[in-house]
Symmetry: C2
Amino acid sequence: MIAEIISIGTELLLGQIVNTNAAFIAKELAMLGINTYHQSVVGDNTAKIKEVIKIAEGRSDLLIFIGGLGPTQDDVTKQTIASYLNEPLELEIESLKLIRDYFEKTGRDMTENNQKQAYYFENGRFFKNANGHAIGTYLKKDEKAYLLVPGPPIEMERMFHDEITPFLATLTQDDRQFIVSKTLRFYGIGESTLVSKLNDLIENQSNPTIAPYAGNHEVSLRITASGKDERECQHLITHTIDQIFSLVGDFYYGEGDDNSLVKVVGKLLQDKKMRISSAESLTGGLFQSTLVSVPQSSKVFRGGIVAYEEAIKRDVLGVSPEILETEGMVSEACAISMADKCREKFGTEIGISFTGVAGPDSLEGHPAGTVWIGISQEGELSFAKQYRFMRDRNGNRSQSVMQGLDLIRRTLLKE
Amino acid sequence: MIAEIISIGTELLLGQIVNTNAAFIAKELAMLGINTYHQSVVGDNTAKIKEVIKIAEGRSDLLIFIGGLGPTQDDVTKQTIASYLNEPLELEIESLKLIRDYFEKTGRDMTENNQKQAYYFENGRFFKNANGHAIGTYLKKDEKAYLLVPGPPIEMERMFHDEITPFLATLTQDDRQFIVSKTLRFYGIGESTLVSKLNDLIENQSNPTIAPYAGNHEVSLRITASGKDERECQHLITHTIDQIFSLVGDFYYGEGDDNSLVKVVGKLLQDKKMRISSAESLTGGLFQSTLVSVPQSSKVFRGGIVAYEEAIKRDVLGVSPEILETEGMVSEACAISMADKCREKFGTEIGISFTGVAGPDSLEGHPAGTVWIGISQEGELSFAKQYRFMRDRNGNRSQSVMQGLDLIRRTLLKE
């Protein structure tokens, strides 16, 4: 099966938004083993959409249309394709009810246009929208298949994840009845290094497939196996994961699509019934803010101090003037003292500190990217580690936070 | 002139990278008044590239090809188009020299493939690559124009900025010699409201053009005028800006592409020789981290406290137990006290506090999104304002920070 991704929206043609949707869907298709040779973008224009469909039908089997399912006048995707295919649309009652409820609850008037979002191909099927009003729809006609999904990424991605990817998986199955995926997450190794270490494994694997995804400071691998039942898939996946761990297991920190280093650290602290506080200089509160980004952080996080200015490190946090004078702010001694002082002040089982040079300028003779991270733990010897990051100011700051999280994780796991 | 953007690269079809290039070029074209009705993506495949050219020639005048100019075997864009058009390629001597120098300096062997990057259309022109090796090239033939640019954004964007945009501007000029742009930035108004308030103005304007851009918590308008000289452009822009200000001036906070609310606030504090500290609860350090994201923040920011837990607000920050017991953490009194206490503790001229409910759960009977922001200022009456945000946990947190910045800005400007 050959798919083609057709994104519809004048805002894409004007460069007002970046087409992240096409990349998302392309990746999902690749994971399912569906080939894509073309992507297109066209405006919210009936005639131009029809021209593009005609071209796409001449070269692809599955046409995926993104966007133009909204309630405004310029959203014409569904009506245009229905008229092109001469196919009736049908109201989906449950989705219509959800839209009505929404307008009632918010006290706004519902228009005919809002109702439009609940239509689907009568001879096809629909996909629910858990994060919005426009449902997705699919129709197969004359050996060609048409899939329509909403444009807002938060709606489209959820719809794909919950309903469309499993549905497309059934289309690509032959005697293989099951598909099982697992995502492994890595920190401290770049995508290219990870891929080169796994090169033999990736090149010689077809089932499971191994797909790397690079995040901002981390890399994931999605392992997908297909088999005649779930047990066969799980067996295949387990075997592949064992091979992966033997090569790059030291960088693995957790699994799952909806996971992150901060979640793993939060869970670890909770399991160990430990609370944390933080003293930050160059990161300026970013570490604490990252902890707080996860719900339930109040179970492990009490608070902290941002001691940006030297005098604040001394007067509010309590770092000794001798350390600041002889060792300086960007030093092992200062990082250790900051971690100790904040742990005492906030009465927590663990304290972490960040001091260094975000950039662009150097500080105390240390180049931008020089960072000390200190760890203070009840009943343990405090320590600090030096890092040298090579990003810009905010890249160095966020990398410090990730490194700090990883340092806590490794410290707590060592015990 | 109608342009079409054709991105070439199998990594785009696999969703391994997001097509930011298409958005960048689309925006540049829109600014130049060049219409784009189609964008396409195709893999590094000679036959498929030729098919796409044929389709594009049937509907557009200027075909812009991005990518596939690299040194590896699969980079076939330039050779494919040259063969399709039956046009000779020519070595650009200066660029070839730069490539040779690079390989000499890095001590690596230069191959025939590397030399490939210095070819351009003999009957056209070339564009230098300040950030890489693959030069750009342009050819006009039989009423159609072909522009080829390299794929790495850092190379492509620089090339556009330095050479291609000015070149395309000469193509679209008739008697108008100059183009001048200005970006106005707004906070506290959504894109749709801004556009509807300016609707008449936008609909009835063709020179200058008014293009809205929505950011995460703010909106920009880019005003672009063309005229016979700079003075005429400036006159046109000034007149339009006056009209815009009369309608939505209250939400304007600054101008320029590379500006933000935090930069404007930082500059304001610096001008007034005021230093700031912050006490944060639900934002968890995000306000301070945002201040620190801008270089030179040490001139205005001393530090602050993240008082996430109730006991920390009392024991470390010094909020009175009475306030916490009778009014609660999510209250005007608590916000004011937090702002006062941090200002005293950190010895700054102004202090700001954030307390409230990030979500997803409610707190002390207040729904998620309820936020108090307090301001304490030397010699002025402290005050706090209540807000009710409707986003998710981290949306509420970042909106609180933006609102806090705007509150400081408005407070300092009122004096």
